[in-house]
């Protein structure tokens, strides 16, 4: 079968969405359904514990660490913005702030858990509240940890001077993940500390 190639060339430029962004959005959809199931379980078991302690007795609203985590969304956005304009010093500062704010959030969670375990005697096996609370907040914290590891690697590379505006796309995709982690915290916060108390 010998056929000449007769197809006329495609008239206008052929552009498709960036595969990094598409993949990250797909991943976020998958993550959203994991969190949805844990949130549903939390709400379903609200007030069904057969023994104490209850959320109202022991939970304190973590205002400070919440503010830290949410502002880290702004700093990472700025960081990518500065990188795009090749303002490296500003980029490094903003990226470091993002990392630090995320770390403060995680430390806050650690302090909160320490108090719950040692002072209030609430562990994952104490009652249904403990089971659902630690798994939902823990699932989120593990995502923050994963994000911090990625942020930390980028930070180390940036301090070594190995990040330039060519990497803007990769960091943009990473920032999508970080925004997602923050957005999930808004939901977790609402469910655990507002509705749940």
């Amino acid at each position: 079968m010998t056929l000449p190639q007769t197809m006329p060339a495609a008239p206008e430029a052929w552009t498709l969405p960036s595969k990094g962004r598409v993949a990250m959005f797909s991943f976020i959809v998958a993550e959203t359904s994991i969190f949805t199931i844990f949130v549903v379980a939390y709400l379903f078991y609200l007030g069904k514990s057969l023994s104490g302690p209850t959320p109202r007795q022991v939970l304190e609203v973590p205002i400070f660490s919440t503010i830290c985590l949410l502002s880290s969304s702004i700093t990472i956005h700025l960081a990518v913005h500065y990188l795009r304009q090749a303002k490296y010093a500003a980029f490094k500062l903003a990226w470091f702030l993002t990392f630090a704010l995320g770390a403060i959030f995680l430390i806050g969670t650690g302090i909160e858990w320490n108090k719950l375990i040692t002072v209030d005697g609430l562990t994952i096996s104490t009652n249904l509240f403990g089971t659902t609370y630690y798994s939902l907040v823990g699932l989120h914290a593990s995502h923050v940890t994963g994000g911090l590891i990625a942020l930390g690697i980028v930070l180390a590379l940036a301090l070594a001077g190995k990040v330039n505006e060519k990497h803007e796309h990769h960091l943009d995709v990473l920032s999508l993940y970080w925004h997602f982690v923050d957005a999930v915290w808004v939901v977790v916060f609402t469910v655990v500390y507002v509705i749940g108390r």
Binding site: M1, T2, L3, P4, Q5, T6, M7, P8, A9, A10, W14, L16, P17, S18, K19, V22, A23, S26, F27, V29, A30, E31, S33, I34, T36, I37, F38, A41, F44, Y45, K48, S49, L50, I124, S125, N127, L128, T131, T132, S135, L139
Partner: protein, 561 residues
């Protein structure tokens, strides 16, 4: 592989390398990131497990052939039906479909590889590792307690059977971890397919010009993103219960066993569609080529698939009518279940419409697709019967249900898959599958399938529950069970002939050429098997049938689309 015979550009000088040693070949396959090699690995892996799962099914059927049989003990029977179900769904059906998706999607969209080749390899090895973990439980399941070997909780593992009190040892943990690990692999594959389809298409291939196979795999991957992770979440909760003393499914501490059912079936029902949609995809490619007509109602097909994707996310509790839900819940799930039948019916009419007035060639791929159409219709009808709550109260958990879903999975999914094997084997290996053996395979399997699964409905109607390891004589079940078991052997022989056919044809088969079926999609525009880079020059397309346009420059499709 002479370049002149390729409709889309030639290959630059093919370098001849010395024949590699077996260790080099093995190394090449182990570290490969090529979508075609990974696709073949998925498929071979699934075929191995198909034989394993088939042996398990045969053990079950021998035990049930006559009343009061003592072929296996009740414990072994429980392990076998658990392993059979888990293996067939997670380590046969999913990998084989991923294998075809991996192999075909980049070729059909004129790309050189998937969007993320290394993620692709990672996903495959996760899936492979998951399957190994499941079967390692034969060795490791005893754990420290000396109790239990291989999971025996059924493939849906209802609570509280999975609690530490009722599942001693580690067999259930192997089940959990195996599905968790392969689930991560599945997410990777789904993300990869979505990114490939949306971001890697060759110039000119707008969404409306993609082959239906690509569209349907996109929908499948999108569904996986929504449905695999609920299973992951439920497995995490089960692990927390078993290892950290959590109470998610612990009714004595206020937990709920029913919520496990919900979480499992939120995954479990869409999973059926995840498996059948790629099979719709095969049929949608094969039927037009062998009817010598373009697919009838392409936009309707796409719309119906997307519609199925969404509606099937809201039907899960039709697996749970018998646990006693409120009448509102029952009504909701009956309505959604019946509704999902509508787009599915539309698809059947589209395939019939494609064949209508066509010049049908009764080649093997087409024969399997015709079997698929007929059996899938019947499976759909019993599905609608079971979707009505009152009918399900009567027959839920009986052999009628087992017959119904095997009609879907074997009569639908497996038939379409066999069709896909006969259709794309020439592309993947460069050799045709033997026709005579293929006819033996088809007719033996068809006969065995109907003998087994047609008659399996009857003991169900007579009240035989599923998952019992034996039964009393004189209930009227014995003769039907015997017929069902005999049918299994016809299918087993047919499958062995198929495996033999593949091995035989791979070495001795007739050379296929690049385009043995006179087909129209891009994978037939390159050599068989395709070179590592697929296309020397990235093609440009103007219609849904780019090869038709090339073969018929006087009457191209793009003038009409």
């Amino acid at each position: 592989m002479s370049s002149e015979s390729l409709p889309i550009s030639g290959l630059a000088g093919l370098e001849t390398k010395p024949r590699p040693t077996w260790i080099e070949v093995l190394h090449e396959w182990l570290v490969t990131v090529d979508h075609k090699k990974l696709g073949i690995m998925y498929i071979v892996y699934a075929l191995v497990f198909l034989v394993v799962g088939g042996v398990e099914a045969t053990i079950l059927r021998i035990q049930l052939a006559i009343p009061h049989a003592h072929f296996v003990s009740p414990q072994v029977f429980n392990r076998m039906f658990t392993m059979h179900g888990t293996t067939m769904i997670f380590f046969v059906a999913m990998p084989v479909l991923f294998g075809f998706a991996n192999y075909l999607v980049p070729l059909m969209i004129g790309a050189r590889d998937m969007a993320f080749p290394r993620l692709n390899a990672f996903s495959f090895w996760l899936t492979a590792f998951g399957g190994l973990l499941l079967y390692f439980s034969f060795l490791g399941g005893d754990g420290l307690y000396g109790a239990g070997s291989t999971p025996d909780v059924g493939w849906w593992a209802y609570a509280p059977l999975t609690s530490v009190a009722f599942s001693r040892g580690h067999s259930t943990d192997y089940w959990t971890i195996s599905l968790l690990v392969s689930g991560f692999g599945t997410i990777g594959t789904a993300v990869n397919i979505v990114a490939t389809v949306l971001s890697m298409r060759c110039p000119g291939m707008t969404l409306g010009k993609m082959p239906l196979l690509v569209w349907l795999n996109l929908v499948m991957s999108g569904m996986l993103l929504f449905t695999i992770t609920p299973l992951t979440a439920a497995q995490l909760m089960l692990m927390i219960d078993r290892y950290m003393g959590g109470h998610f499914f612990d009714t004595q501490a206020g937990g709920s066993a029913a919520i496990w059912m919900h979480f499992f079936w939120i995954f479990g029902h869409p999973e059926v569609y995840v498996l059948i949609i790629p099979c719709f995809a095969f049929v949608s490619e094969i039927v037009p080529v062998f009817s010598r007509k373009p697919i009838f109602g392409y936009p309707i097909m796409v719309a119906a698939t997307v519609c199925i994707g969404f509606v099937s996310l809201s039907v899960w509790a039709h697996h749970m009518y018998t646990i006693g839900m409120t009448s509102y819940e029952n009504a909701f799930f009956v309505l959604t279940t019946l509704a999902v039948g509508v787009p599915t019916g539309i698809k059947i009419f589209n395939w019939l419409g494609t064949m209508w007035g066509g010049k049908i060639r009764y080649e093997l791929p087409m024969m399997w697709c015709l079997g698929f159409l007929f059996q899938f219709l019947i499976a759909g009808l019993t599905g609608i019967m079971l979707g009505a709550a009152p009918f399900d109260w009567q027959l839920g958990n009986s052999y009628f249900v087992v017959a119904h879903f095997h009609y879907v999975i074997v009569g639908g999914i497996l038939f379409a898959l066999f069709g896909a094997f006969y259709y794309w084997f020439p592309k993947i290996t460069g050799k045709m599958l033997d026709k005579k053996l293929g006819h033996w395979h088809f007719w033996l399997f068809l006969f065995g399938f109907h003998m087994t699964f047609d008659f399996m409905h009857i003991p169900g109607l007579l009240g035989m529950p599923r998952r019992i390891y034996t039964y009393e004589a004189g209930r009227g079940w014995a003769i039907w069970n015997l017929i069902v078991t005999i049918g299994v052997f016809f299918q087993a022989v047919a499958v062995l002939m198929f495996v033999f056919n593949m091995i035989h044809s791979y070495f001795r088969g007739r050379v296929a050429g690049n385009d043995p079926w006179d087909a129209w999609t891009l994978e037939w525009a390159t050599s068989s098997p395709p070179p590592e880079y697929n296309f020397a020059v990235i093609p440009e397309v103007k219609s849904r049938r780019p090869l038709w346009d090339l073969k018929h420059p006087e009457d191209p499709d793009w003038k009409y689309e």
